[in-house]
């Protein structure tokens, strides 16, 4: 077979490749470059000074705290969901999968709004919480709840197809040989899914630390108290503190680059492409 008949002409191929690379550079690479350049525009000293602010340190700490609660909770639940959906057939199984993926199709702002409707001053449980002296909205618990909602599907969605592909033969063998259910899970299942699990946790964490819309609704925007890093970026940007805003943004960009690098590594370990970072 003549190769030319099933391929584009060399000149066409070259042109299309150049257009593609130009698109990728202008649309996807330039935003990343501009963040780093703007952060360093006043020199390294300004970067250090911007990160040495008490409000910046508080924002970094709060971001870590929120992720440290939301990610493990969603990991445990994602493992449970993957076990019952990936290992058993039952009525309503596909409906359950659809419901688990639901937060992906909800606007970030709506993901924050729902918590205000429940726990805000005019929320269903708002007056009750106020009498009890508990604050959820405009406080850290609200940030955690909104982040948990947004990152809910990541671990389950990564693990379910993986566990379906692997089948149950190894686990059944372990059980037949006298292992308990827990032993089987820890010794057989967990090692088999470890790269996939790590991949899910990685995506969950990246989104938890970078979430903006959902936490913007529930935060109350008090510097040093209820501002995660993305919210702090917004406050600095609105105050025309460009170096400050882009310095914190650069820090989050490094997290994004780390996530992309780990994605490559884990795809290689899993021996397959896991698809988009969804």
């Amino acid at each position: 077979m003549n190769r030319a008949a099933t391929e584009e002409a060399p000149a066409t191929r070259a042109a299309l490749t150049v257009i593609t690379l130009a698109l990728l550079v202008v649309l996807l690479l330039l935003p990343l470059v501009v963040v780093l350049v703007e952060a360093l525009s006043q020199g390294l000293g300004a970067v250090v000074a911007a990160l040495d602010e008490p409000d910046a340190i508080a924002a970094i700490e709060l971001t870590l705290i929120v992720a440290a609660v939301a990610v493990p909770l969603n990991t445990v639940c994602g493992l449970a969901a993957a076990w019952c959906i990936g290992r058993f057939r039952f009525p309503g199984r596909s409906l359950l999968m659809t419901m688990i993926a639901l937060p992906f199709s909800v606007s970030p702002v709506i993901s924050g709004l729902v918590w205000v409707l429940l726990f805000g001053a005019n929320g269903w449980f708002g007056p009750m919480l106020e009498r009890a002296g508990v604050r959820i909205i405009f406080a850290v618990p609200g940030l955690i709840l909104a982040t948990t909602f947004v990152t809910f599907p990541f671990v389950a969605r990564t693990l379910i197809p993986l566990m379906q592909d692997q089948g149950v033969a190894e686990e059944e063998a372990a059980l037949t040989l006298g292992a308990t259910g827990w032993q089987t899970f820890v010794r057989i299942t967990l090692p088999n899914i470890r790269w996939g699990l790590l991949y899910g946790v990685l995506l969950c964490n990246a989104r938890a630390m970078g979430e903006f819309g959902a936490v913007a609704v529930v935060s109350g925007h008090v510097r040093g108290q209820t501002m995660t890093m993305p919210l702090y970026i917004e406050a600095l940007f609105n105050d025309y503190d460009w170096v400050g805003a882009f310095t914190v943004a650069a820090l989050l960009s490094l997290l994004a680059l780390f996530t992309l690098a780990m994605k490559l590594l884990l795809e290689w370990r899993m021996g397959r492409r896991a698809g988009a970072l969804l």
């Binding site: 391929e7 501009v34 969901a81 419901m99 606007s107 709004l113 149950v168 903006f212 805003a245």
Partner: protein, 275 residues
């Protein structure tokens, strides 16, 4: 019913299903129930009044219009990028492929201020257009651009696996039968990609409608001009108009789901015709 349905010898079905249902209810279902129920505190007439306010209609038109346009732009862009990535080999291809995921990995607030810095009248790219009288940031054009940025990976990643799975025989047969390369691409390849193109369009559209972080900095946020629907939800919450905020949120969600359902049906029809 559920006990009878389990066919596996493995343990732990009841416990894991229990954990999943409790977590799903607490984190997803009960909060979404509030979104579905609270708008009706206004009564049906009040609900209608709340969502047909001219400012709301302008915001909804902008959010859905810009998201549709951005998704439409991303279809040819995404098709081109996916084709080149799958079919061609060139230096730096692996790096370019990682770059495609950038909008999903980069936090939206970071993307938002970065795009604003690039496309503001004094920005790297904005300054090239300013002398021509074209303003990008703080106009609907800026919103469109931000939505093209966030939507692109959805289209590329939906199309790529379908291009990989295209049977080589179909293209070879067409070529053997005397079709030119352009004819083969138009008559054989493009129809086979139809459903994936629609699915990618839908995913980008759904993301774009609700997008907040990457849009809000570049939009300018002028009521009736560059004010997106998610921002209006926040404004209503600040006015303690919870029912009004929920009404707008519910309408956005329902329209999005309606569009996705429609695209899904269309996708199946296109898929059948191609097969």
């Amino acid at each position: 019913m559920i006990a009878g349905a389990r066919k596996s010898a493995l343990p732990g079905f009841g416990a894991t299903l229990g954990i999943t249902m409790v977590w799903l209810s607490l984190i997803v279902l009960i909060p979404l129930a509030a979104l579905v129920l609270r708008p009706w505190e206004l009564g049906i007439a009040g609900f209608w009044h709340s969502i047909t306010d001219p400012r709301v209609l302008a915001a909804l038109r902008l959010s859905f219009g810009a998201a549709t346009l951005a998704a439409a732009v991303n279809v040819p862009f995404g098709l081109l990028i996916a084709w080149v990535m799958v079919r061609y080999r060139f230096p730096g291809r692996g790096l370019a492929d990682s770059l495609i995921d950038m909008p999903l990995a980069l936090p939206t607030a970071v993307a938002g201020i970065a795009l604003t810095a690039l496309f503001a009248p004094n920005g790297w790219i904005g300054a090239l257009f300013a002398p021509l009288g074209i303003k990008i940031a703080y106009t609907p054009l800026g919103i469109l651009l931000a939505l093209i940025f966030v939507g692109l990976p959805f289209v590329v990643r939906t199309i790529e696996p379908v291009i990989m799975d295209l049977p080589a025989e179909a293209e070879e047969a067409a070529a053997t039968l005397g079709a030119t390369r352009t004819q083969t691409l138009r008559r054989v390849v493009l129809p086979a990609l139809g459903p994936a193109l629609l699915a990618g369009f839908g995913a980008a559209l759904a993301r774009g409608v609700g997008e907040y972080g990457s849009v809000i900095f570049i939009a300018g946020n002028m009521p009736m001009f560059t004010e997106i629907a998610p921002l209006l939800i926040i404004i209503r919450l600040e006015q303690l108009d919870y029912a009004g905020a929920a009404a707008l949120g519910l309408v956005m969600l329902m329209v999005s789901f309606g569009i996705l359902l429609l695209l899904n049906l269309l996708e199946r029809r296109v898929g059948r015709r191609a097969a």
